[in-house]
Symmetry: C2
Amino acid sequence: MRVTMREVATKAGVSAMTVSRVINESPRVSDEVRRRVEAAIADLGYVPNRLARGLIRQKTGALGLIVPDVANPFFTLVVRGAEEVAWRAGYHVILCNTQADIERERGYIEDMLSFQVEGLLLAPVGERSRPNLRVLRKNNVPFVLIDRTIGGYDGDLVQGDSVGGARQLVEHLIGLGHRRIGMVTETAEVSTARDRLEGYRQALEHAGIAYSPELVLEASATDVGSAHDATLALLDLPEPPTAIFSVNNIAVVGVAEAARERGLRIPEDIAVVCFDDIEHASRFHPFLTVMAQPAETFGTIATQLLLDRLAGRIEQRRRLVVLPADFVVRESSGAQLPERA
Amino acid sequence: MRVTMREVATKAGVSAMTVSRVINESPRVSDEVRRRVEAAIADLGYVPNRLARGLIRQKTGALGLIVPDVANPFFTLVVRGAEEVAWRAGYHVILCNTQADIERERGYIEDMLSFQVEGLLLAPVGERSRPNLRVLRKNNVPFVLIDRTIGGYDGDLVQGDSVGGARQLVEHLIGLGHRRIGMVTETAEVSTARDRLEGYRQALEHAGIAYSPELVLEASATDVGSAHDATLALLDLPEPPTAIFSVNNIAVVGVAEAARERGLRIPEDIAVVCFDDIEHASRFHPFLTVMAQPAETFGTIATQLLLDRLAGRIEQRRRLVVLPADFVVRESSGAQLPERA
DNA sequence: TGGTTTTGTGTTATCGCTAACTCAGCTAGG
DNA sequence: CCTAGCTGAGTTAGCGATAACACAAAACCA
């Protein structure tokens, strides 16, 4: 099968231990032998087996990263950030994609444990992820939650200011004269969705606008189509909203599709704002008014927190990092249109 | 540290072998013992150690996937597709991000070998990846190239029709009356870039338009800024192009930025087409005329090819899959504008 | 009822590597 | 010249799991 250490040893005419010493750069090897071993390694294309090494050293040099959807531009950037920091620290990132499915999340967490990752970064599916965290605790695997928290969780966490961000977005719409503002949210299972809904309510309350439940509809996080359907439902209300706040950058795609389908122009006929930017899209065509979260930084900081913990440099039980978002006003909210009554 | 099989065995009052049998669903375990062992497993939160299992079974249940940039929407979809198929087949995907850096690619390939992945999916950085493939060969690790090939490579490969696709895009522009068509490409190190340039030349030749080297500029694959600079250089030519063909969906972002910076409207002042769609952007705002490759399918098919090989179902040395792209005409090419002279 | 098969469980060796120990041979100091 | 100390190797054991074998006890059949 694959080239093993013993083959290298035989070829170089030494013992396996000596090969190991060469690989691990032990100083106690004569130059002559080192050369022979290195030549044999290069010749055979030998690559050490980490399973074996990990088994004995109890270290694999791997971190796990579990996200609900790699195709979501937010998480894509989280991945890139995490990968970058991990690589510099000599770690690997094993990425898993749960498709927001709690069973898969469970499966992947076990898989990561099984692979003996040294730590885990997790953007949990939602509240029901709680039992999954227990397994991590029992096995003493350090982990950091990203983006979303879970009721009662008191470990490391990197998140954005969803309440404040949502409130600011909605206040922006209110400032432009909108009174009927719809919201396309996702399941309250997810903490960011709850927080953004809370921010939405706060903004309304602060402006003295009554909260109308019929203006808030839920869509699936991974399926653009459901946001599309929710938006159509909002637009078909007897008294439809004049503006829509989308809970994230995935749902807003459905919102735009629905508006187009109804022949409504953004922002002239309906204003749109959302949480999270869409990286390439916003550079190609800066159009959406968004609360742009520093997604890559979510990844880098969370990884840093995890690495600190692995290095045993950390005492505190919990470290909470809240990253501010950038409020970016572009066309879609209609800020440059004449204000409403 | 972590819970081991022996602890489970002790707790259940059986031998380690019996625990192993329960885990592997061997039928030769009495119900009574099975119950006790399962209770102990649940109680301790035990998760088997794959390193140990992999070491003895010579199987890890993991596939490696190495891409130049996870944040590139094309590769993001490849990842999703690969992950989906792998998961269904009971495999894991370990993802690595080379940032188009040959050294990192080398490092990650060794890491994957080291992790004893059973097979590898690789979207190589470019021609210089060749020595990296040799290591894979020497270690008998099956692998499939994705999207890009390498001169002289004769193993499994899943790619798009870059020559034909590029030709079609450029012929579209020519059909709209354009004669001076610029191209922002990336290094000829990458096969798709070479092929798309070839398609561009074929289209020109077929239309009897002379090829002008000054209209073809190279940009970096990972950095939008360099495409932006290249575009500015094109626009500043004494006789600037009236249309630009971007080699991919990353570069086109720089093209758009540069056009905007020069106050040029797309498509009125300059037509733009590119290879590869930008998933969310195109749904949010269908604007770019593109050759949309079925990126997710690249991932699913490549993974399928790899799984087939792992299962030993395959005889042929090489299997080549060429996936057709979808030509999508939208606004950016100006197809609905009055034609040019 | 005796012998053969089946069933349920334990024992041993081993995957590839490295920690910890061993040891021959050389060096150096008194 | 002898011993303590260092050098550059090799040897042994074991990481956590499982394949392969071993073996009682129960089940089966003639």
